[in-house]
C-alpha cells in the first residue's frame, strides 16, 4: 500500500490528539469521582444526628457525675466537716459544680450592618481574641467563676477560632456571646472599663462598625458546671521523692 507523505504528518498530529484526549478523559473522570454534593448532604445529616446523640450522652454524663459527686460527699459524712468543705471549694474552683452569686454579664454580638464595599468583613464580627481578652480582664478583676454561653471556663478551657464560630471546651458556640462572671460586681464593672482596656476598644468598634457590647451588673448569676471530660492522662501528682 502506498503511504502518502501527508498521512505521516496527520498521523503524528493524531498521536498528539490521542494523548490529549486520553489525558482530558482521565481528568474529567477524576473530577466526577470527587465527592458529589448529595453525598456531602448525606454526611452532613449524619454528622447532625451524631451530634444530637452526643448531646444526649453529655446530659447523661453530667447527671452521673452529679450523682458521683453526691456519693463522694456523702461518704465523708462521718469524717471531719472540714474535708467536705475543702472538697466543695476545690470543686467550685475547678468548675465541677454549678455555682451562683453576684457578678457581671457581658454580652458581645456581631454587627447587624452589612460590610461596605471593600471593607474587611472581619471588622464586623466578634473574634475569639475579643472573648479571650474580656475573660482575662475579668479574671484580673477578681472573678471567681466564669462561663461563656454556658460553657464553664476551667483551667483547661480553650477559646479558639472555629470558622464562623468559637470553640470553648471543644464545643462550638455562636453569637451572641454572653460572658458571665461571679465576683464583686462593681470591681468587675470597673475592671471592664479601664482606660485603654478591651471594652474601650470594643466600644470603638461598636461605634464604627456596629458591633454590640452590653455590660450589666447582676444580683444573681448561675454558672453551670464543666461538662467535658475531666480525666488527666499525662499530668500526675508528683510524690515526695520522685
Amino acid at each position: 500500500m502506498k503511504v502518502d507523505k501527508w498521512q505521516v504528518s496527520v498521523a503524528l498530529v493524531c498521536i498528539i490528539l490521542g494523548v490529549l484526549l486520553a489525558v482530558q478523559f482521565q481528568t474529567q473522570q477524576s473530577i466526577s469521582e470527587a465527592v458529589p454534593t448529595r453525598r456531602v448532604e448525606e454526611l452532613a445529616s449524619m454528622l447532625k444526628e451524631t451530634k444530637d446523640y452526643q448531646k444526649v450522652l453529655d446530659q447523661e454524663e453530667s447527671k452521673l457525675k452529679k450523682q458521683l459527686l453526691e456519693k463522694s460527699m456523702g461518704a465523708n459524712n462521718g469524717t471531719d466537716k472540714m474535708i467536705k468543705e475543702d472538697i466543695s471549694q476545690i470543686n467550685n474552683l475547678s468548675g465541677l459544680t454549678q455555682v451562683q452569686g453576684p457578678g457581671l454579664k457581658v454580652t458581645l454580638d456581631d454587627s447587624q450592618r452589612a460590610p461596605k464595599e471593600g471593607e474587611d468583613p472581619n471588622l464586623y464580627i466578634i473574634h475569639n481574641e475579643d472573648i479571650l481578652k474580656v475573660v482575662n480582664e475579668l479574671w484580673a478583676g477578681g472573678a471567681e467563676a466564669m462561663s461563656v454561653n454556658n460553657q464553664r471556663i476551667t483551667a483547661t478551657s480553650e477559646i479558639t477560632c472555629a470558622g464562623p464560630t468559637i470553640s470553648i471546651n471543644q464545643t462550638r458556640i455562636a453569637p451572641p456571646y454572653i460572658i458571665t462572671a461571679i465576683g464583686n460586681p462593681s470591681t468587675l464593672y470597673t475592671s471592664m472599663h479601664l482606660r485603654g482596656g478591651i471594652v474601650e476598644a470594643l466600644q470603638y468598634f461598636a461605634k464604627q462598625y456596629g458591633i454590640q457590647v452590653k455590660i450589666e451588673k447582676q444580683e444573681k448569676i448561675v454558672i453551670p458546671e464543666y461538662k467535658g471530660s475531666r480525666e488527666l492522662k499525662y499530668a500526675k501528682t508528683q510524690k515526695a521523692g520522685d
Partner: protein
C-alpha cells in the same frame, strides 16, 4: 487512511498509560488544544485528498491555531468573558465544513 487512525490509537494508549492528570483549572485549555488538533487533522486530511497538502502550512497551522485558542481562553479567564466559545464555534464550523468536503472527495 489507516495511518492517522493508527496514530490516534497509539496516542490514546500512550495517554492512558502515562496516567497524567492535569489540574481542573486547565481543563478548558486542554479542550481548546483538542479542538485545535482535531481541526488540524481534518484540515490535513482534506488537503491531502485535494492533493495540495503542504507540510509547512499543516504544522504551522496546528501550532498557531492551538496558540490562538489558548490565548483566547486565557484572555477570557482574565476578562470574565467566555472567549473560548469563539474558538469553539470557529473550530466547530471548520470541522463540519472540512468533513463535508472530505465526504464529497471520498465519494467522487
Amino acid at each position: 487512511m489507516w495511518l492517522p487512525l493508527l496514530g490516534l490509537l497509539l496516542g490514546i494508549i500512550l495517554g492512558m498509560a502515562s496516567s497524567i492528570h492535569i489540574s481542573p483549572l486547565y481543563v478548558n485549555y486542554m479542550a481548546m488544544a483538542i479542538l485545535a488538533a482535531l481541526d488540524s487533522v481534518f484540515g490535513g486530511i482534506r488537503a491531502g485528498l485535494e492533493k495540495k497538502f503542504d507540510q509547512k502550512i499543516f504544522i504551522s497551522g496546528f501550532f498557531t491555531n492551538a496558540l490562538l485558542a489558548a490565548l483566547l481562553t486565557y484572555l477570557g479567564d482574565k476578562l470574565g468573558v467566555n472567549l473560548y466559545l469563539a474558538a469553539t464555534v470557529g473550530f466547530g464550523m471548520r470541522l463540519f465544513q472540512n468533513l463535508a468536503i472530505i465526504r464529497r472527495l471520498l465519494l467522487q
